[in-house]
Each structure stands twice: as C-alpha cells, then as structure tokens.
Symmetry: C2
Subunit: 347 residues, 2 copies
Amino acid sequence: MKYEAVTIKDIARELGLSTSTVSRALRDSYEISPETKKLVLEYAEKINYRPNPIALSLKEKRTRSIGIVVAEIANSFFSQIINGIESIAYDKGYNVIITQSHESFERELINVQYLASRSIDGLLISLASETRDLSHLKHLHERGYPIVFFDRIVDEINTHKVIVDNTKGGYDATTHLIKSGFKNIAALANAAYLSITRDRIGGYQAALEEHKMKQDPSLIKYCLHGGLVYEEVEQALDSLFKQKKKPDAIFAAADKLTTNCLRYFKAKGIRVPEDIAVIGFSNIDLTELLSPSLSVVRQPAFEMGQVATELLLNLIESKRPVKDFDTRMLQPDLFIRESTSRKNSSL
Amino acid sequence: MKYEAVTIKDIARELGLSTSTVSRALRDSYEISPETKKLVLEYAEKINYRPNPIALSLKEKRTRSIGIVVAEIANSFFSQIINGIESIAYDKGYNVIITQSHESFERELINVQYLASRSIDGLLISLASETRDLSHLKHLHERGYPIVFFDRIVDEINTHKVIVDNTKGGYDATTHLIKSGFKNIAALANAAYLSITRDRIGGYQAALEEHKMKQDPSLIKYCLHGGLVYEEVEQALDSLFKQKKKPDAIFAAADKLTTNCLRYFKAKGIRVPEDIAVIGFSNIDLTELLSPSLSVVRQPAFEMGQVATELLLNLIESKRPVKDFDTRMLQPDLFIRESTSRKNSSL
DNA sequence: TTGTAAGCGTTATCAC
DNA sequence: GTGATAACGCTTACAA
C-alpha cells in the first residue's frame, strides 16, 4: 500500500492558486498578501501538510542529516557517544541516522555506502574491528566528503578525529595494578591493528617498563572481534591460564572484553579479586552493581560525541575546503573499586 | 564544503550521449548496443558513479528504508529489538533508521514527523512513556501509512502489533515471589497509562488475588519516565519505605526501574535478598554478574524485532489496503536467580 | 539503437 | 501580489 502524502500541488489546486504562491505563502514571504497567506496556512494546517524532505534534499543538495557508524549500539560506550552526538545535532537542526557494523567490515562498507549515497551531509565513524581496507572511506574523503573519526581512528586519512588518551588510560590502569602489588599482569585487547589497541597496550607496556617489570608477550591476548562473541574471549583466557606462570591481574582493554572476562571467571569459579584482579576499559553503567564492583578506566563518551559532532558540523558548514584538521584528545578517568583491591597489597 | 557527486549528466556530457541512453546502459537495458553499454559502464566505474537515491526516492515514492522509534538505545531490551529488526530488514534489502524518544513526547513527535515525511516507507514504534496524545500517529495511520507497534502499544489505532504476554510476565514474577514466601510484595512500574504497565501490574494483581493475598494500592508506585532518571525511582522507593508496613519483596516492571532500584538499595545499605527480594522485568545481559545475581522476566526481544519487521514489510509491500491486523503475542521467560531466594522460604 | 520530454515536490527567477 | 518556468537527478513513454 503506497502512502500518498499531501503536496503543494494539492493545496494549489484546491485553492485555485499556483504552486509558487502556495510555496511562498507557506514560507511567509513578504510578497504574499495577508489574506492569501491566511488561506493557505489554514488549509495546509487542516490537511496536515508537511514539506517533502526528499524533494528539498534534491533541490538543496543537502539533507540536514548526519550519519553514524558504530560497532554496536548495545555497547554503553557507543550509546553514550550517540547521545552526545544527538544533543548537538538536534540543537543545530540536524537529524541523525544511526547504523551498526557489528564489527564486520562488510556491514561497515554497506552502511557507509548507504549513508554517503543517501546524501547525508557528513559521517561520524568508529571503525569496525575487522576493517583493514580503508579505500571506501578514502574515496569519500578525497572527494571532499565530510568525515570525522572517533574512538577507532586511522593515520592514513587526514581529517578531524576525536579520541580519548588511550595510552594514558592503559598506563593508568596498569600502574594502578602494579602499585596494588600485582606482579604478573596480563592484557586482553581488541584486534592488534586498531588504534585503540595499539595505544592502550602501549600504555600498559610503558607502565610495566617504567616499573621495571619484565614484559612477557604471551601475557597479551588479542580478540579479533573485540570480545563480541564470548568464545573469542574464552579461547584467549583458556590459553592465558594454560601457561605455567599464571597472571594475578588482567587489564581488559574494552567493554565487551571486560564483561566476557567476568563471565569467564564466574563460569570457571575463579574469584575476583582474590584469584585475579580485573580492571576494564569500560563505560558500562552497572559497574558499581557488579560483584565485585568493577575498577575501570572510563571515557567521557557523551563529550566525545559532542566534540565529534561539532567538528563535523564545522566541516559541513564551512564555505571553503578545510585543510587544517584537528585531533582532539580527551582525558579518561580511573575509577578504583573492589575488583582490583588486594588485601596483601604492597602499598 | 559541499560534496559534489557524479551524475548521469556528467557521464552523458563526457561521452556525448543523452542521459536516457546512459540511464538505460547502466540498467543494462536490452535496447542499448553492447558497445555503448561497455563504454558507459567502464566510464561510470572509472569515475565511481553512484546513483543518487534521493532522486530515485523522489521518483519512485519509496525509499527502501524503515524507521524505528524507541525510548533509549542504551536499554538492552531495545538494542536487542533493533538487532532483530535489522536482521530481517537487511535481508529484504531495506535500510533502517533508528531514532530515540528518550521517553519524551516532544522528541517522539519530531522523530515521527521527520521519519514519516517520506524519508521512510514504514514505521516501527514503541511509544515514549510521556505520550498520551496519539494524533500524530492516528493521522498517519488514517492516510494508510504503514505502522507497526511493538512493546508499548495502543488500542486506539488498529494496525499490526507485537507484544510479549506482559500479564503472564507480571503474574509469573509475582507468583514466584509468593511461592518463595514473601508476604508484602510491592510493584514499581512505568507510567500508569502505558499498555505494558497496565498488563504487567494486572498480572501482579491477578497473582495476589489468586493466592488470596491482600492488595494494597500504596504498594504500587508509578514512575512517569520509566526510571530513566534515578531521582524518580528514589522518590518512589522513599515513599514506599516510609510506610508502616514495609515491603519484603519488589517487582520492578521495567529495565531501568530494576537497575535504579538496585542502585537505591545499594546506596541505602538495604540488602538483597535478605532485606528485600527483587525481581525485574529486564533484558539486561549482565544479570548473572550482578551481586546478587538478578531474577528476571526476560522478553524475546530479538524475535520481537523480527516479527514486527516482517509484519511491517508485509504492510509496505501489500498491493491493496490491509484491513485485517494481527496482534502477535510472544512468551516471556522467567529466570530465577539469587535476588529472590529466601532461606526461610515456605517452599 | 538513441534522443526528447515529462514528471516526482520544491523553490528561485523572471514575468506580468 | 501572483503565476509560469526551470532546475535538482533520475526513469520512462514516446519519437525518431
């Protein structure tokens, strides 16, 4: 069943006016007599006329919409970012179209192409963990299409970017574990080639180095899909715990990695923090309700969404091609709770 | 900076052909000579031509997109529904536009109008808790606009609907509490006029009645925004605990109500389940990691999204106006965990 | 086999 | 103060 909307033509025909008169009356143009305006506005109201944004987009070559690609809206970090994005976008009269990649390159490609071709005016994207080939984004960027990266960024494309200081986050988390007296600190990370992985693990390593702790590469495990599937985390942890020297603490460098880690320990009867301490890079909002309550590095996600959107709208509304691009770095916060507290701490 | 896409005109000009020839060549029409086709396709490929879907939409009066309005994507129930919706929609070649009402009537109105003004072919909606005036949806529905309601539905609009058996969910949860020996069972619900509230509380009351328990209206508290803001829940619980006869168990009839309830108990030092038992109507995926693990009524959210989408696509693709509408009712599941276990149970 | 023209809904420009 | 026309990008009768 096709839904037929009311158009300016319908109004014009009904009132015996031309479409241009109706159009002008609706936009309250000074050229139109008060009587005609009243007539048109009242009739439009009566039949509930709404301008067709598709037609407007075609004409104006802009849609007043921006597109988002994130891995998973079910992830608190991303849903908080989205709320930040919406808060700015709506204010400026832009609508927001949300899509999910589910960490799949193919899905990301489809979404980016759909969004770009649908003539959204600009794109906010955090890459899928599978994504290594960036040509789909490079093409768009080369043609002047406004893109802002957040969270998972890339060096190859020179545009605005918003991230948290991931190196510091990893460093702070690890330093906290070291100072709490843990000796054998493992790390569980997303795909190795992602910017967030590189930086967070970099911070972890820097902390170990600074405290003269020996570095054991076999203590770092990577999950290609960021722990989206439990089995991935299970496998990583299985192999971690099969080693002779078992870790006494673990730094989980992403949301899903953290929760699936906790699931694993619960399933295996491994106690936190008695048998192993856990600190997560996580924005889940139930951390204080977990058992034990969870120590985390938390990102200012809402703010990240806001900043990214402001940068994108700048790009979109700029009159001339933008050459100078910013990379904004926000600060993460460390929240220490029960999951990393050790009674026999050296502190 | 405006992004200028390649059009058929550009190709036509470059190759010295007419736009119609180019159009036909691109769609592999039988009328076009192999040589011309080859020429056009190769050049289109070379300059990375993509048809403008805005123009197509204007022409075809369809967008192959469907719109969603939910209260909050940060709510697991809704994000699971959305995943179900996407799973069907993508399969059928439809794209999905997600919007949030944040339980606000005004925001819902804006979203519905944006979506309906022909950016999408049909609408999937769960009402905002604030929404009492349905005229925005009635208008659309009367003009034949395809709408499917899920979760929070209304009687006044006759179209396809998908819900869970909320009455049974409320009944099962309450019966479980009664059988576990709790005597003074309170209920915390969303806005009173919502379908889900009516049914879930109806089930709660039916269970009390069946077991000849006295019904105390002051044990039922309503939160106008479904517990979206903590203060709302705090206020409800404060007033609940100020009463002389304090509840020994509580049935929290929605996701955010449940988690904010737990937050409140944690803050006040009220132990669960020793001081009060808690059962939630919730799809959060961390229930087993909470302390104590949480008993819940869980909805088949993914499936609900799938069913709703199938119904919507039927409406959209139907050749004639649909007169017969379905209300599909799915079954909720009861998961019993620690938060409702009482040592001195009568069982 | 290819080109011309109309139309989708809207607005800007130019007439009257 | 109002109307006719062209244009946005595309498809499709209808002509040639």
